[in-house]
């Protein structure tokens, strides 16, 4: 059974230094509030897994929480580069960042394999690509039935996955909809799973076949409305496209980035304070 906890308590109890952490959400439902809380609590030496690192991992990497990144597309969608990721890869700032690079199909399959309790995923991939030359974990396997040579990649099995979703009920059952990405697979692949939600309700009223994660498959559920900002929660919040643009100059420079983290993350007690501070700053403009 999932406990209903504050996000600060959930991160304190279930995210440990050195953990392999997946904060998933494919453009939609990115668990930004949890990323902020991990920075606030100064977690260290994390191996971060995410198909699209996005702003959430740019922040964690720049803040010095990460030792390694496992990913498949590292850009600021619709804007350009992730400058903190690039600075870590190109100039080892604020510390060296080991990268393990895959394709989307590979990582999506690797999450499916993780959720399936399998050690590796098999897919038709990478023939002719240079990625296997720089990632020794991309190997091949020969089909015992047809002889076809296929790609084999290790499954993703995080110590902890964090996702954001629309609704939970009071027992901690979670309902999500819209673009699901690899949320369900990432949740079920992990040893522990925290879900932040827009609202907690008496009854999910979930349609048959809806994407429901049962409380007994989760570790903690936290009520964090708007917790996916600047990503969105379908039916609740809109994507804040302007923030994705505004992030570019903030992250471009080490000084402005550090000042932003100090003011907006370390200078706030929780996500609702962060939201209030951001809203005040946006209004002042």
């Amino acid at each position: 059974m999932a406990e209903i906890l504050s996000l600060a308590d959930a991160v304190k109890q279930f995210v440990n230094d050195g953990d392999t952490v997946a904060l998933e959400g494919f453009t939609h439902l990115i668990p930004t509030a949890a990323g902020h809380e991990i920075i606030r609590q100064g977690k260290k030496d994390l191996t971060l897994v995410r198909m699209t690192p996005d702003l959430i991992y740019d922040q964690l990497i720049g803040a010095g929480c990460a030792r390694k990144l496992i990913f498949s597309w590292g850009g600021n969608p619709g804007v350009g580069s992730l400058h903190r990721l690039r600075d870590a890869v190109e100039k080892q700032w604020p510390q060296p960042l080991e990268i393990e690079e895959h394709s989307h199909a590979d990582l999506a399959n690797a999450y499916v394999a993780g959720a399936s309790g399998l050690p590796f995923a098999v897919l038709r991939a990478y023939a002719g690509s240079d990625l296997p030359k720089v990632n020794p974990l991309i190997k091949t396997v020969t089909c015992p039935f047809t002889g076809e040579v296929l790609a084999a990649v290790p499954s993703v099995r995080p110590d902890i996955t964090v996702i954001h979703a629309q609704k939970a009920d009071r027992k901690g059952n979670v309902l999500l909809w819209g673009i699901l990405g690899v949320q369900k697979e990432a949740a079920l692949a992990a040893k522990r799973c925290i879900v932040t939600v827009e609202e907690i309700v008496d009854d999910l009223n979930a349609p048959m076949n809806a994407c429901v994660l049962p409380t007994w498959a989760l570790t903690a559920v936290c009520h964090v409305p708007g917790g996916a900002h600047p990503s969105y929660a379908h039916g609740y919040t809109e994507r804040d496209n302007r923030f994705y643009q505004a992030w570019d100059p903030i992250a471009r420079d080490r000084g402005t980035f550090t000042a932003w983290i100090d003011e907006y993350i370390h200078g706030t007690a929780d996500f609702s304070q962060f939201q209030a501070k951001l809203a005040a700053a946006q209004e002042a403009k």
Partner: protein
């Protein structure tokens, strides 16, 4: 009507999508051209985005690969793993529509790194869905602006394979799809030469000279014997494109980048 070279590129790319074909769409330029096709010559083209929407019909261009409107207007939304497993690897994609940072003469694509992988000059975003789209879609179209920096003699990194080293490379690699069948740029259209699978210029856009194309290509580019000229964008095409861009700007307060 007067038009820009970028508009010519988008229109020329849109014309390549047959009505009713199933198209796996990359974000940025491919998404713009694919939606223009849907709004003009190919109303029944099926647009699939890697985030999960199948049959998306957005009224404005998405800024990200997972914009809510893609989900709202789709016939169905499936998990990302299913997109790659059942729909792409399962062999149901007619056209993979890709952008690129760099291409070479065989339509191989680099979106990973300029310079050495471990000591990069420029670190690019990486693979995304492109390697498997390039491998498994029945055919591939590539759209990008042409310059000697983007059309290079030798790629520092092959992220997504086109025709490999040319000739029967794809066959030897065991790739199921036919690979890239067209590169559409702001200057011209290139298609693979039979046999060698080297991309040669088959049509220049109106007003573009061979010299311009040569100057904007990092390899010794060749021209087809039967060199054609692209038809100018029609008023219908241009109006549809400009309306789409105006709706997008009004909705998002910005036009989509190419990231």
């Amino acid at each position: 009507m007067a038009y820009s070279t970028n508009e010519m590129m988008t229109v020329a790319a849109a014309r390549r999508l047959k009505n009713g074909s199933v198209c796996f769409v990359g974000i940025g330029l491919p998404s713009k051209a694919a939606n223009l096709a849907r709004l003009t010559s190919s109303p029944d083209v099926v647009l699939i985005y890697e985030s999960g929407p199948i049959g998306a019909k957005p009224s404005v261009l998405p800024l990200s690969i997972g914009d809510g409107e893609l989900a709202e207007t789709a016939d169905t939304v499936v998990p990302t793993g299913e997109i790659f497993r059942y729909w792409l690897q399962g062999g149901r994609i007619d056209v993979g529509f890709l952008g690129a940072a760099q291409v070479d003469r065989f339509g191989n694509i680099n979106t990973t790194v300029v310079g050495d992988y471990h000591q990069p000059k420029v670190r690019l975003p990486g693979a995304g869905g492109a390697p498997e789209i390039a491998g498994s879609a029945k055919s591939v179209l590539i759209i990008l602006k042409q310059s000697s920096r983007s059309f290079v003699d030798k790629l520092d990194f092959i992220t997504s394979v086109g025709h490999g080293e040319g000739g029967d490379s794809r066959k030897r690699l065991g790739l199921p799809g036919a690979g890239p069948v067209g590169i559409i740029t702001d200057l011209c259209i290139m298609e693979p030469e039979e046999g060698t699978h080297e991309f040669v210029v088959t049509a220049l856009h109106p007003g573009v000279t061979c010299e311009q194309v040569i100057a904007a290509t990092g390899w010794a580019v060749r021209f087809a014997d039967q060199l054609g000229t692209s038809a100018e964008p029609t008023e219908v095409e241009l109006n549809a494109l400009r309306d789409l861009e105006a709706r997008t700007a009004a909705a998002h307060g910005q036009t989509p980048g190419e990231a």
